[in-house]
């Protein structure tokens, strides 16, 4: 549940020297912190922790029906144990679940890969550009600021039978019908909205790389591609990993876009969130909670695996406020930078 915790524990708290003084005369700091943090933690407990736990409980119940033994209609919910879960994986609705599971996974992998490639490309272009920076920064925020629902309607309009997309490609594709075309429309719309956001985060990472590193590499005769692979990638890896992680978790819960762009009850684009919503909408809270819990576990596993395997340092930015210094130190000889920053694997490097 608290996936990023291990990373937090590994990392020594790198506080400025003044903290020693503060610690000495503030014996009750822990107590004070607890008091000051309590409103936030209380609210998060109420709106996050409590629902998660009651979803777990809820997923073990089913709405009352006719009791098979007595013949009476039972009031309230009946405890059914893990029936809702076994129904998900093996019952009549198993096909629908696996389809939604596949769609969710497919969307996540495809969108995140596309968005990462496009986002990194955008960041590299913006980093090289000296003119028009303000314009590009403003325009890159526009897709981010547009509500997902509005962007879904916008793309639905573009993907109309006699809309702009068909006019451009000169063919009559019925985008909103079942099949690859509706999947493609969702992927295109999602990529449009979020690739610039990844670009923004990666650009911030790029800007922390000191120029001397590149100059040293040039002196050593590194080609442009070598510079990208050996310096840029490893050094933006921390920023990139966090961006990718957040995009993945966001796409795993994707709902608005397929729901509005294509519509509910479409096998091609139904995701786990849509499935759970549909069950809840039809007042089948037990199964809905079970779907929601499965999605929750899926998200948690992905987040945990991502943090563990790739070493995405999610809280690093806030925990250690000296990224520049650290990066400089780590990457002083440019070739060594490929070893990766704080990562457990050299995913971006050699």
């Amino acid at each position: 549940m608290s996936a990023p915790t291990p990373v937090a524990a590994e990392r020594p708290v790198n506080q400025p020297p003044t903290s020693e003084k503060v610690r000495r005369h503030d014996e009750g700091t822990g107590k004070l912190a607890a008091i000051l943090l309590s409103p936030t933690m209380l609210v998060l407990g109420l709106v996050v922790l409590f629902p998660i736990i009651s979803a777990l409980r809820e997923s073990l119940y089913q709405p009352g029906g006719v009791d098979p033994e007595t013949g009476f209609v039972t009031e309230g919910d009946t405890f059914v144990g893990l029936d809702n879960y076994t129904a998900i994986f093996t019952g009549d609705t198993a096909d629908r679940f696996w389809n939604a599971f596949y769609n969710t996974t497919f969307f996540t992998v495809t969108c995140v890969v596309l968005e990462t490639i496009l986002g990194v490309a955008m960041a590299l272009v913006m980093h090289k550009a000296f003119r028009g920076r303000a314009v590009v920064r403003a325009s890159i925020l526009v897709p981010w600021a547009i509500p997902t629902v509005v962007s879904a309607l916008l793309w639905k309009w573009i993907f109309q039978a006699d809309g702009a997309a068909n006019a451009i490609i000169g063919r009559q594709v019925l985008w909103s019908t079942e099949g690859w075309q509706s999947v493609a429309s969702v992927i295109i719309a999602d990529t449009w909205k979020t690739a610039p956001f990844i670009g923004l985060l990666v650009l911030a990472g790029l800007q922390t790389i000191p120029n001397e590193v590149y100059e040293a590499a040039k002196v050593d005769g590194a080609s442009v591609f070598q510079q990208f692979r050996m310096i840029t990638l490893p050094l933006v890896k921390p920023a990139l990993l966090v961006a990718v992680l957040f995009r993945m978790l966001d796409t795993l819960r994707i709902f608005d876009l397929p729901f509005v762009l294509v519509g509910p009850h479409k096998d091609s684009v139904e995701t786990l969130s849509m499935l759970a919503y549909d069950e809840a909408f039809n007042t089948r809270y037990g199964p809905a909670a079970a779907y929601a819990t499965v999605l929750f576990i899926y998200v948690a596993v992905v987040a945990f695996a991502f943090v563990k395997l790739l070493g995405a340092d999610v809280i690093g930015d806030a925990a250690v406020r000296k990224p520049k210094k650290k990066k400089k130190g780590d990457s002083a000889p440019p070739g060594v930078g490929a070893a990766g920053l704080g990562g457990l694997t050299a995913g971006g490097g050699v």
Partner: protein
């Protein structure tokens, strides 16, 4: 240094980044431009694919506000819900963010991890149980049924962004204030808070945009038109025209919902980018 090196390079080297920038701008703005164009067409030539609306018309915009669409009310509802979420979040999150940025206590990283983790939870796994709870306590079709669940994503976002902002402020500020006789609380209120105003303001914008764009909670918790937010209303537009999906008025409504955000983005782009990248969170 690098600037001069690049400036001396050939025309391709010089103009390639500019071309790239132009491509990015087109990529980001073209679909949005298409929405504007479609909004200002006459409903009768809605399916015209010309690049500029000719003749220019406000009919779609007028249609959006026609009686029975509930769009005006929806805008007010959106403003109310997103505004309340933003204010609540800032009030609750400000103290927590300052604590996380300044106090050194055991388990700080754990608290940070918990806060960041809560923002990763899929909305639907919170909404299903909350829906049932709200039915029981008769909260369905109320504003608080939209506001309270929205805190689940807004609060971590705000705390995270604010913490990054507070961290960027030198500790010497409070120390100087305390040397001058301020209590820590006074130092926070009289020195830090005014200086942190830009960061707080940025966080407010980011939180407001996130809350304004929320859809799933509003869709689930409210079924009556008078309480629905603009996003839900637009998605369920039947329009005046009838059977066909009223794309013209939907685009017009989309423009109306988006324009305030785009203006805010244009005005405060530098700060928003700073806030987004400092938090590293959407």
């Amino acid at each position: 240094m690098a600037t001069t090196i690049r400036a001396e390079a050939g025309p391709l080297r010089r103009y390639a980044p500019l071309l790239g920038v132009a491509l990015i701008v087109l990529y980001c703005l073209l679909p949005f431009y298409w929405m504007m164009v479609s909004a200002f067409r006459r409903p009768s030539d809605q399916f015209d694919n010309s690049i500029i609306p000719r003749p220019f018309s406000f009919d779609n915009i007028k249609d959006v506000f026609k009686e029975g669409t509930g769009f005006g009310r929806g805008l007010a509802n959106s403003l109310l819900v997103a505004g309340t979420v933003t204010i609540l979040t800032l009030v609750i999150g400000l103290v927590a963010a300052y604590t996380l940025a300044r106090l050194d206590f055991r388990g700080k990283n754990l608290v940070l991890a918990i806060i960041i983790t809560t923002s990763m939870f899929p909305g639907i796994s919170l909404i299903v149980p909350l829906l049932k709870l709200f039915i029981d306590i008769k909260w369905i079709n109320t504003y608080q049924a939209m506001i309270v669940p929205s805190l689940s994503f807004a609060l971590p976002l705000a705390v995270w962004t604010l913490t990054s902002f507070f961290r960027q402020m030198p500790r010497e500020l409070e120390q100087a204030a305390m040397v001058d006789g301020c209590t820590p609380a006074q130092a926070f209120r009289k020195v830090i808070l005014p200086l942190a105003a830009p960061g707080v303001f940025t966080t407010a914008i980011i939180t407001f945009i996130a809350a304004w764009n929320e859809f799933l909670i509003a869709l689930t918790m409210v079924q009556v038109k008078e309480k629905q937010t603009a996003n839900v209303i637009i998605s369920q537009f039947t329009g005046a025209a009838g059977r066909d999906q009223p794309f013209g008025s939907q685009m017009a409504a989309g423009v109306i919902v988006t324009i305030p955000l785009v203006i805010a983005v244009l005005l405060f782009q530098r700060r928003i980018v700073a806030g987004l990248t400092a938090g590293g969170v959407k």
